[in-house]
Amino acid sequence: MAGAGMRDVKRRIKSVESTMQITKAMQLVASSKLRRAKERVETARPYFTTLYNTICMMAAGNTDTTNVYTRSRVRNRVAYVVIAGDRGLAGGYNTNLFKFAAATMEKETAVVIPLGKRSVDYFAHRDYETRVLEGYSAVESMDLERCFELARLLTELFRSGEVDEVNLVYTEFVSMLSQVPTSRKILPLSFTREEVGLEEGKSFGNAEFDPSIGDVMAKIIPQFVGGMIFGAISESYASEQGARRTAMEAASDNAEEMISSLSLQYNRARQGAITQEITEISGGFEALR
């Protein structure tokens, strides 16, 4: 009897061990990818933040409303570019982002533009108007060049009046352990001082714009949108790797714990079987006397 129980336990230990091997491997892969992604985020961040801050400051001081990109419109249809991962098994990374996106898009006529295979799959079965951009579903293949291409598509959508606002929904990489879903408006470029969080008096003041503030802004809008997408994707990608590493670390730890409790069970059963055998032998010996 005890032998059969032992076999079961042994089999379970084996299966947990092989699962642990997989989670360990995934953890290592995520760690090395994370290191590279983190570097990319750190090098991109100065550009990303200065770009955003400068443009916001310009927009707050802009009085030129003739440009289609800087004039705010009635928000009839609002586009949300939802950037998630290409793969699962990253803890709550994808679900947290989708939950956040759903909350942000509530009460709006949202047009979802999913980026990342998970995002595409998720929104394919929901009640949102979605617009999948062919060739832009895999987040991992998005380099700088492709971000600018995508920016051109988005600005075109906006310019043609198909959408009245464009937002990016992505996961900000705060640290190795903490990643926060965020949303940022990128078009139109009209911000009030409050939205930007600009202190009173802090602006371009008497800066000279060559040739004019409206022209400068119109010229750098494609760069701005592309830069913002690149930044958001870098942040999201690093977040995904961070979330996956944490999840896989927890999974490996759990597996280890399970193995140790199973080995204890196995050893007990083995000990029990031996004890029983000894009792049987000595009992039989007694009976023969």
Partner: protein, 141 residues
């Protein structure tokens, strides 16, 4: 000796330059603009073109830059561009190949938008090639 100011060149792939300089020249939508210390606050969009930096040791460095803007404040000049490569970082032969490939794409373009895009790429490649030839480490003026 002329007064110095701080120049920062930032790209999505990191900071390309952050040091004190004598002066710099960049290509804006309105033409080449040179900035010396004490310039009044100024903002302009940057086109595909060359950036020339005069370092305090009297040398001139060249870079091929594309699309962005320059923001001049009292003590700091910040140039934000989508790409920026120093002359010595560009391989002249490769730059020529890229330029020829870009030229071919312009000729093959079918729609006007495609043509526009290809022209932009060609322009970038042309500047890269031109800047690459000025390399040789620091060129003497």
């Amino acid at each position: 000796m002329a007064a110095l100011y701080r120049l920062e060149i930032v790209t999505p792939l990191g900071k390309k330059f952050d040091d004190m300089v004598d002066g710099c020249v960049f290509r804006t939508t309105e033409g080449d603009v040179g900035i010396l210390a004490g310039h009044s606050p100024y903002v302009a969009a940057i086109e595909v073109g060359e950036i020339k930096v005069h370092t305090p040791d009297g040398k001139t460095r060249y870079a091929a830059a594309a699309d962005g803007f320059a923001h001049v404040t009292g003590e700091l000049v910040r140039i934000l561009v989508s790409s920026c490569d120093w002359a010595e970082e560009i391989d002249p032969d490769k730059a020529r190949e890229e330029r020829e490939a870009a030229r071919a794409r312009v000729n093959e373009a079918k729609t006007p938008e495609e043509r526009e895009l290809a022209k932009h790429v060609f322009q970038k490649a042309r500047i890269r090639r031109r800047v690459a030839k000025k390399a040789d480490g620091y060129s003497k003026k």
